[in-house]
Symmetry: C2
Subunit: 257 residues, 2 copies
């Protein structure tokens, strides 16, 4: 497929790399910043532009990978008529693309993507479109990039996005808080890496509820009290410690939330 | 080394497997339950007993891997005199072992261990002892089981244990809450597995603070509001969403907590 890529951020960059690695062609990169557009275009061996009026009209698909809040205004300035256009956001309706074209849909990567990644990760792709033909076309593209492809409505995608924020952004913030605590207390955070990876990887063969370990699930009150005392000078961590301990024990006691 | 293993739970089982896999000998397993002691002893090709008075007196090292709250009472009933004895707990002082022997220390696996594990994970080991000679002896044993070995005082170990609880037990509970949310809303939690693994693995080459993505760090208020509205029926998740969003933005704004 010949693809026009609108955006130069983390999602545009990683999707662009996946797309070219799978043998498709990115014909043009659009970006507001000439430097960023030129840089990504050079990497993907594509043309670039900073002017919407100079968008290459001959692509098969236009992917809008810009900040959520900018999607509607970018769509409004796109002169696509009946070309297929998608956006890549978890929490924005596909209907905002109606103004750009009669053919529109979704190409949502369920991953936390950073330009700096050394290797391209596995990326589950959730797709949607306003016609069955375009859904089939997007499915073919998605399957050429990923082994995990699903169709998800606006509402389903929004729900998965909420869950994704919980298990990636919030989890990562726990890592950040723990790292700062270790730095403040002279402990070596990198000793925790094997533990962190193991807890994530065992989800492949064990539900998280069955995998829970630690002082809270053991109702080990002396240890919990020692830990809370140690966190006296770390207000946010102390709040979290109390909250999670209570929630883990509530879950264990009831079997449901 | 010839080792006496006291306990039959998750830590005793996984350490026993690591120890025999490294070519050492578990001479005897002690457990209160004959079934559990016999089962683990059979797996490790060791003898077993349920009677402290029948503890094999000829081991080089005795490892107490029982519930934190039981360590002191187990130590008090051990007739070891001048044999080396260690426990495996993050948050219990090594001094509780004084009653059992003149030679005592720590052998703390910084991992979340479950008997059901199909593969033995990498296990960072934190050690301590009341004499330099025994510290050297424990270091040799630890280095035969793990590439990550550190010496940690009671206080340092307690601090790392708190951090470990944050990045493993609390993280795992986030996974549990997200899985239950997906089940309640008809979404496929397994689509999130690649995301979860990627967020954990990238710590090898990126600090969590630099790796943060998502609506909170982007100050993407429309998305945050959509997510909060969706969580109206999920009280605990809504609380967490608000807490983490605020904490992530506070961290981003100040560069410190």
């Amino acid at each position: 497929m010949r693809i026009g890529l609108i955006g130069t951020g983390n999602v545009a960059t990683i999707l662009g790399r996946k797309i070219t690695a799978a043998g498709h062609e990115v014909v043009q990169v659009y970006g507001r910043s000439a430097i960023h557009a030129q840089q990504l275009a050079a990497e993907l061996q594509a043309a670039y532009t900073t002017d919407m009026d100079h968008l290459d009209p001959h692509a098969d698909l236009y992917i809008i990978a810009v900040a959520d809040a900018a999607i509607a205004s970018v769509a409004a300035s796109l002169p696509l008529q009946d070309k297929l256009v998608v956006h890549t956001a978890g929490s924005v309706s596909k209907e905002v693309l109606k103004v750009a074209s009669t053919r529109y849909g979704i190409f949502y990567p369920l991953q936390s993507l950073r330009k700096e990644m050394e290797q391209l990760p596995d990326i589950p792709l959730l797709i949607d479109a306003n016609t069955p033909d375009d859904l089939a076309l997007l499915r073919d593209l998605a399957l050429s990039l990923s082994t995990q492809v699903g169709v998800a409505s606006d509402e389903q995608r929004l729900k998965l996005h909420v869950a994704a924020v919980m298990v990636s952004n919030f989890t990562n913030h726990l890592y950040t808080l723990a790292e700062r605590y270790c730095q403040a207390e002279g402990a070596d955070f990198s000793l925790l890496h094997p533990l962190i990876v193991q807890v994530a990887e065992r989800l492949q063969y064990m539900s998280p509820q069955d995998a829970q370990t630690g002082p809270a699930i053991r109702y080990d009150t002396p240890t919990i009290e020692k830990h809370m005392a140690l966190l006296e000078q770390h207000g946010e961590m102390k709040e979290l410690y109390a909250w999670f301990t209570k929630s883990i024990q509530k879950q264990a006691a009831s079997g449901e939330l």
